[in-house]
Symmetry: none
Subunit: 240 residues, 2 copies
């Protein structure tokens, strides 16, 4: 049986991985749902079991799936969690979990930098900046409050954007190629406005990620990303 006749260059195990991921992302396979067994995928794709096994094993390594010997393979029940570096793609991450992403744009206006903000952004006080405030939601539940300042001179069209379909970070990544990033992570008590926007009680601590991004040696954006502790944690796996 020759599979090489096909022009598609992707290995079979990669296609199977992609197929399962798609099923999860599209909602066909909900969290905790059972993924078709190796043998049924063997029949479905007309490949050997070793190939299916490799696909599912790698999905397990990636944390997409949980496998229990003698029982079956299941869609990982991932709590809201973020990779520090990838917090920018909160929309993508939520959708990757097979959940519904939505955004509530509180404001996106032009301001003159206060002394605090101008200091942080290395500007002169009073220089124009954009100030956007957006609540990111997973399955309708607020998961991140994004309070962002953008240097107007670097991205003059930022204020015209409607961030319903694209997140500010996706916009920034596209318009101002990321050159350098600085993260600070703190635990805080949310202020009253934050409590209301995130729909949390006053005694719930929050994870605050302060993110500065540079493009072309210019500091372009300062974002305060606030996450309720009960709904979010940062996760980072790496190999030294």
């Amino acid at each position: 049986m020759d599979h090489r006749i096909e022009l598609n260059a992707a290995p079979l195990y990669a296609k199977i991985k992609h197929h399962v991921k798609q099923q999860i992302q599209s909602g066909v396979l909900a969290p905790n749902a059972m993924v078709p067994s190796e043998n049924s995928l063997v029949k479905q794709f007309n490949v050997s079991r070793m190939t299916v096994h490799r696909a599912l094993r790698e999905l397990k390594e990636e944390g997409v799936v949980v496998r229990v010997s003698g029982v079956g393979t299941f869609v990982a029940d991932t709590q809201p969690k973020g990779h520090l570096i990838k917090v920018n793609n909160i929309a993508q991450e939520i959708r990757g979990r097979g959940h519904c992403y939505s955004a509530h744009v509180v404001q996106n206006i032009a301001e003159n930098a206060t002394s605090d903000i101008s200091f942080e952004l290395h500007l002169e006080p009073g220089e124009p900046v954009f100030h956007s405030v957006i609540v990111h939601q997973e399955e309708g539940v607020p998961i991140q409050l994004e309070d962002r300042y953008v240097v107007s001179s670097a991205l003059p069209e930022y204020g015209d954007m409607d961030f319903q379909s694209i997140t500010p970070n996706e916009y920034l990544m596209a318009k101002a190629p990321l050159q350098k990033v600085e993260h600070r992570v703190r635990a805080i008590h949310p202020d009253l406005l934050t409590q209301q926007l995130l729909d949390i009680k006053s005694d719930e601590p929050c994870l605050l990620l302060i993110r500065k991004t540079w493009s072309d040696d210019v500091l372009v954006s300062l974002a305060h990303l606030t996450h309720p502790s009960s709904r979010f944690e940062f996760v980072d796996k790496f190999k030294p």
Copy 2:
């Protein structure tokens, strides 16, 4: 349970991985040196090529070796890859600021794993673990509460250590070469004991870093690192 017996029960691909790692660590295989080819390892271990291939593929994914199709497999030259959150060396970090580091060892005892801990460490309930609790101080002020469990079978001498002059992390790094790390960061309310040990008020939120470390494909340690929000933040700068 003897650690050596587990090696005999280990899968063949794991034995081959371990063998190659040993060769590298012992200096038999220097950085950039060529690792024996799949076919020669097939003969040496009298196994199938698929088994050897899996071993080398996983070593590649771990960054231990570099593989070039049509050429060969080579020992990776040690890449620094300065990654996230260097909480590892809290003592070093404090001294790097020119401040005085001190440690208060609350306990370092042998226990039998509770069901919670055994689950997290992938052990059977009741298996022996070491449980150390240490308060790390900067200029005499508590800055990190380290609550750590270590798998006894992996590091049988951990319980004998006096962590006044060397931190558990430094000990682990020396005894069990770091292979993989998982971090989770949360914001929490400290419990009463934590408040006392860190000398903080009950309403001060804390940054909790949960750190799991693997060595040689074995999970060896689980640490809860709690930091008062007013005295600590994580900082991370990087260039993509």
